[in-house]
Symmetry: C2
């Protein structure tokens, strides 16, 4: 059993039911025809569902932030510092970073905020910061906040935190095809935009690590920052990068945030190719701490956390430098991290002795 499974997140069970869900969902594809639409079948299992209707190519994704709000609640209690605006940014990031990865610009974000008791909102500091962060993240993503739902779910939620999720609808720019990974080929370059830390994956495991430390979320990292403060650094929002890329002549072959399953996510495209990473981003301090505290091997760490890989764009070799320039002009760090090579599907980091085979990516 992996460290992640011990924290209550067993992907092997989830994935089995997910596969059944994917089959049942795929069986409904024809219903779009009643409105003159059709799906891009290759988008099933991609980061967002893509379909065409009335001459537009649209993408939709529904996502959630996981259990990170529990950390925000606990950290507020022990430090007095509220990070609920950052938490909202993180939740929006979990949604929009996915939807843009099919090569689309977000149009509308809707919110789903669930609490165990509506009294959660009585703390106006938390509530209003949450709303401010959500608005700011929508603005930075170029998406209109189109409302949402905020149910109180007594008995279903523990009350240990607020559950944040939502949906984004995005538009593939006219004249562009959706980016579904089917043009990845040997010789392509892998451009990486670094992460800011934990991002939107691994909160349950991070809580487990913190629970085992005598100072908990106040445990100082080597830099002196508290563990809890670093865990709550919000995800980078990548829509402005994708928007700039889609405004340029570059035709990305694959776009993806690195969240659950870490580097394994890079193997989503259908192509049977090797992704070889020669230049690594700096490991965010908090991720190095979590990996070593939970006794992970490098292979386990890079298949669980993002370890500094925030976002990847696979582009033709001739477009690699331009992609880096576009990212930097849009305010992101970026560098060419590796290359796509002929061979059986794998992701490898030779400098760390890591190699994952295609069979290790079981998720859809």
């Amino acid at each position: 059993m992996s460290q992640y499974e011990k924290a209550g997140v067993d992907y092997s069970v989830l994935d089995r039911v997910k596969r059944a869900a994917v089959e049942r969902a795929a069986a409904t594809a024809g219903l779009l025809g009643a409105s003159g639409g059709r799906e891009f079948t290759a988008s099933r299992g991609a980061t967002a569902y893509v379909f065409e209707v009335g001459g537009l190519t649209l993408a939709t994704v529904t996502e959630g932030l996981g259990t990170k709000s529990v950390i925000a609640e606990q950290y507020l209690q022990v430090s007095g510092e509220s990070r609920f605006a950052d938490l909202a940014v993180d939740a929006v990031a979990s949604i929009v970073n996915d939807v843009v990865s099919v090569g689309a610009n977000p149009l509308v974000v809707t919110a789903y905020f669930a609490t165990g008791d509506a009294a959660w909102y009585n703390d106006e500091r938390k509530s209003l910061e949450l709303l401010a962060g959500w608005q700011r993240a929508c603005e930075q993503s170029g998406a209109t906040w189109g409302g949402g739902e905020s149910p109180a779910l007594p008995g279903l939620l523990t009350g240990a935190g607020i559950e944040l999720g939502g949906n984004a609808l995005a538009l593939v720019p006219p004249g562009r095809r959706p980016v579904l990974g089917n043009e990845v080929r040997p010789g392509d370059r892998i451009v990486v935009l670094p992460s800011s830390g934990l991002h939107t994956n691994g909160a349950s495991l991070a809580r487990r690590v913190a629970d085992g430390l005598s100072e908990g979320l106040l445990t100082p990292l080597p830099s002196g920052r508290a563990l809890g403060a670093a865990l709550l650094d919000p995800s980078v929002l990548y829509p402005a990068f994708v928007r700039a890329l889609l405004d340029s002549p570059v035709e990305p072959h694959f776009l993806n945030p690195i969240t659950g399953h870490g580097l394994l996510k890079m193997m989503r495209p259908a192509a049977d190719v090797r992704y070889v990473l020669d230049v690594l981003p700096d490991v965010p301090e908090v991720l190095g701490f979590l990996a070593s505290s939970s006794g992970m091997s490098p292979a386990e760490a890079y298949a669980t956390f993002n370890m500094g890989f925030g976002y990847v764009a696979v582009v033709a070799a001739a477009d690699a430098d331009r992609t880096v320039d576009i990212a930097r002009a849009a305010g992101y760090e970026a560098f060419v991290a590796g290359e796509v090579v002929a061979g059986d599907k794998s992701v490898s980091v030779p400098s760390l002795g890591i190699a994952y085979g295609g069979e290790e990516l079981r998720i859809s």
Copy 2:
């Protein structure tokens, strides 16, 4: 404090934060312009958010089923009967019945299933029935199931049930305007399609009632059916009615499911008019039982449960009979229940001595 508030659902607190959320969300309206789109501002606060892009008028809604799954889990334990397919139908109904109410046909539904532990899916009977019900409800709604997300949220969810929610994207038929209630006027008729029972609102209160009964969910109703069995009858799916209506020459002035806040929901249109209901649907046995068990007055009952009002369509007087015929041809019961009359905004049921003023509808 109302019976509903005692069950942990305090709308007065929720509504205050909702208003702040509505203001912040509205402030982002201009961002659609970057993609050449614009919103229908009147749809803010309506059942779905409506916007125009690339010549299409689209609607999106994110919704959830509330705590009804807790009843399904408990009922399975005490009776051995699994109602998880019905539960999924209910969840889809909570989403699509909203999105169609702006006069749109659903295109894509995405799912959000959250559990306290992925082990929930180990019970294949529950899991696979849930997936089958979700697929069936999408098919009956004419919507493609475009995937979704199924997070395990240890610490955030209690494990007492599975949380079901999701999003629907819908298309206003070309040549049609969205139905936002701004054409409601005196003389219009109110057409009602009956409910099948509790529908998607009031589960927390129903659980509270059941908890206070010595036989709990097995308590027999007057008909002999068990309370739990009746509570789990799924909502009626109304998309086929709306689709038939939009395919006809009828121009509906207002469409709405009757869920939270019961008949108060009928006052959503901006018009300052009176909604007078002279013919009532039969009260579903389970709702009569819940209302009397929790000591509600008729006024409280009709402002909490649907009391048989599943769906309302406000249409011009000349279209009333045709609307009823269209509903019946599509397989629904339907009848003309009342009339819109000049006067200060209110909903009244003269035969029961009920009258609600416009100020009682505080929700957005």
